[in-house]
């Protein structure tokens, strides 16, 4: 029974992933194909060239091949694992994404974790102390954060901590003028701190508000009333009955936030010139590097998909309430 459910689940998700990838490829290719931006122009940049040379380049890059054929060529290469060559970095798109995504994933993972824990704790505190000044402060903080432009907060932090206090470097992933071998772990860490703080601060709001609502809901339930009647109170009560009930939905929500996390990373990386995938995406967009942009779109779709997948797994297989429901059916 259990294995059957797992099998169905895996089958469904695989099908969904394949269909999603096909559609994302098709749709994003079509959108870019519609664009009036000339890819050859983007490739040669500001250089002026003769019309004959331009025609040759057009032919070389296959500008005039019909779109269906272009798509099929591209899709075939992707199936072979070849995403083409990035026009701005002049190396293969796959390598750009591989190199950049590691830096980005470190940034996103650390801020995901910090914001999750911080948000959860704040939410629990606010929910426990509902109606008090602590609750009001946390609520106001979250409320303001959701309205804060990510890049502005990044700018302010950069200004205060890097420019005025000189605690952190102004930008980039590693110090300037140091060879790759000499970059220490500490250097990397130092360049990571401010971007992580920015992303974490912003990520707190949603999870904290959610945890607060859920905890208040749990605390007004009958079993909590009964526990109180038994003499349980204070933090013990919340820990035994509240946190346990709230933790899973909160973790699920945090996994569903991958899409926003990615968007936040794009902005933060841009402000701190952090060499991540978001910065590459912006560069690719601004300079019409179509292969790289499409590659990143596919990568980000995968990223979001796996976030949702983990949330689904938690919901379907780990949450004991769902298990119990199934057992009773």
């Amino acid at each position: 029974m259990k294995y059957k459910k797992l099998g169905i689940f895996i089958g469904k998700k695989t099908l969904k992933l394949i269909s999603l990838l096909i559609v994302v490829c098709l749709a994003s290719f079509w959108i870019v194909e519609q664009s009036p931006i000339d890819p050859v122009r983007a490739y040669i940049g500001e250089m002026s060239i003769q019309p004959e040379q331009k025609a040759k380049l057009d032919e070389y890059w296959g500008v005039n091949t019909p779109p269906q054929e272009k798509f099929l060529n591209w899709a075939e290469n992707i199936l072979k694992g070849d995403f083409g060559v990035s026009l701005i970095y002049r190396i293969s798109v796959f390598d750009v994404i591989k190199e950049r995504s590691i830096a980005s994933l470190i940034l996103m993972a650390s801020s995901w974790l910090i914001s999750g824990i911080l948000g959860f704790v704040l939410g629990i505190i606010a929910g426990m102390k509902k109606g008090t000044w602590i609750d009001k402060i946390i609520k106001t903080y979250c409320y303001i954060l959701t309205a804060t432009p990510t890049f502005w907060l990044a700018l302010i932090l950069l200004m205060v901590f890097s420019v005025n206090l000189g605690l952190f470097p102004i930008g980039l992933g590693v110090p300037i003028g140091v060879t790759a071998e000499n970059v220490t772990f500490f250097d990397k860490l130092q360049h990571l701190i401010l971007p992580t703080i920015t992303l974490s601060l912003l990520g707190v709001a949603q999870i904290a508000m959610f945890t607060r609502e859920k905890l208040i809901e749990v605390l007004s339930s009958d079993y909590v009333l009964f526990a109180k009647a038994r003499g349980e109170k204070g933090f013990d009560l919340v820990l035994r009955h509240g946190v346990r009930n709230v933790a899973l939905p909160a973790i699920t929500l945090q996994f569903l936030g991958f899409s926003e996390l990615f968007g936040g990373a794009v902005l933060v990386e841009q402000v701190f010139s952090y060499p991540g995938i978001g910065q590459a995406a912006v560069a690719a967009g601004l300079r019409s590097d179509v292969p790289l942009l499409l590659g990143i779109v596919i990568f980000s779709a995968l990223f979001v998909f796996f976030g949702n997948l983990i949330a689904d797994i938690i919901y379907e297989f780990i949450d004991p309430r769902i298990k119990q429901q199934e057992a009773t059916i």
């Binding site: 994302v24 664009s35 309205a147 890049f151 102004i170 902005l267 980000s300």
Partner: protein
């Protein structure tokens, strides 16, 4: 109950009840936003004259937000930028609301149509929002039009989800079944029975979409897509200010961003308070 409420509400506006207070908040914030838009319309072009005699001045009484590297008053530039943001936000939210109505009605038409709508929602949510806006704006050739279209075409999925759930629930109602049995067409039911229920939801959803649209527009402009550097958009002002950060001209970034935050908060407040007014359950809290 009512006595308890009265004792709690002894604040600055102690004599007003919750409903009046809510209306007051809506009125004030709307007035603020309206003033910003109006003044930005009247100021049109004012920010352009450069005055190199007063370059990079820190905030003072004459220039509350300071001046930039060309001696332009940052307060006026910020006002114009906010006006532009609000107008773009309004346009984008309206388009998204129209799309929501169309897709909502479509999803009420039948099972196939409904699964198409849900598939479309999933598709739009599968790519990070910011990246999707960039992609679409490139598809439309970049520039201001690209950004506006990109922002307008990507804000409907959230609201459409809500509307779909609402429609699903409405369809189980008895009067819809009766209407069906009386031989009314799907279209008739959709427009006469379902749409009127959805209008308040959609109105509220549109207002709450505003802040998102404004923030996204500012973000994308900040990244360098779209609007030309001569436009006084908040995103452009902020990305310009990045070049002067190490020089210590903090006011170039601080005030414009703060004003944007306040505008976004104001829209949030209007939306939430209208929501409170419309929802009878919360009206007596």
């Amino acid at each position: 109950m009512s006595t308890a409420v009265v004792t709690i509400n002894k604040g600055l506006f102690g004599e007003l009840n919750l409903r009046q207070k809510t209306l007051l908040i809506i009125g004030f914030t709307s007035l603020l936003l309206f003033t910003i838009v109006l003044s930005s319309v009247f100021l049109n072009g004012e920010s352009l004259p450069t005055n190199f005699g007063s370059r990079n001045l820190a905030p003072s009484l004459n220039h509350p937000f300071g001046t930039d590297w060309m001696g332009r008053d940052m307060f006026i530039r910020t006002l114009e930028g906010l006006g532009l943001s609000i107008v773009i936000g309004a346009f984008a939210s309206t388009i998204s609301a129209v799309l929501t109505v169309i897709l909502g009605l479509l999803s009420s038409a039948g099972k196939t149509a409904d699964s198409f709508v849900s598939w479309l929602v999933d598709l739009f949510l599968s790519i990070p929002h910011l990246l999707l806006i960039i992609l679409i704006s490139i598809g439309f050739g970049g520039g201001a039009t690209g950004v506006v279209i990109g922002v307008a075409l990507t804000h409907w999925p959230g609201l459409t989800r809500v509307v779909r759930a609402e429609i699903k629930q409405l369809k189980t109602q008895e009067y819809i079944h009766i209407s069906r049995n009386l031989g009314k067409s799907i279209w008739w039911i959709a427009t006469k029975h379902i749409l009127p229920h959805l209008i308040p939801q959609i109105l509220l959803g549109t207002i709450l979409m505003f802040p998102h649209a404004i923030l996204h527009e500012a973000s994308v402009t900040f990244l360098g897509f779209g609007l030309s550097p001569h436009e006084p958009a908040i995103g452009i002002i902020l990305s310009e200010s990045m070049r002067y950060l190490s020089a210590g001209y903090w006011w170039l970034a601080f005030f414009p961003g703060l004003s944007l935050l306040i505008v976004v908060l104001a829209f949030d407040m209007i939306g939430e308070n209208i929501g409170k007014l419309m929802d009878p359950k919360n009206a007596h809290e």
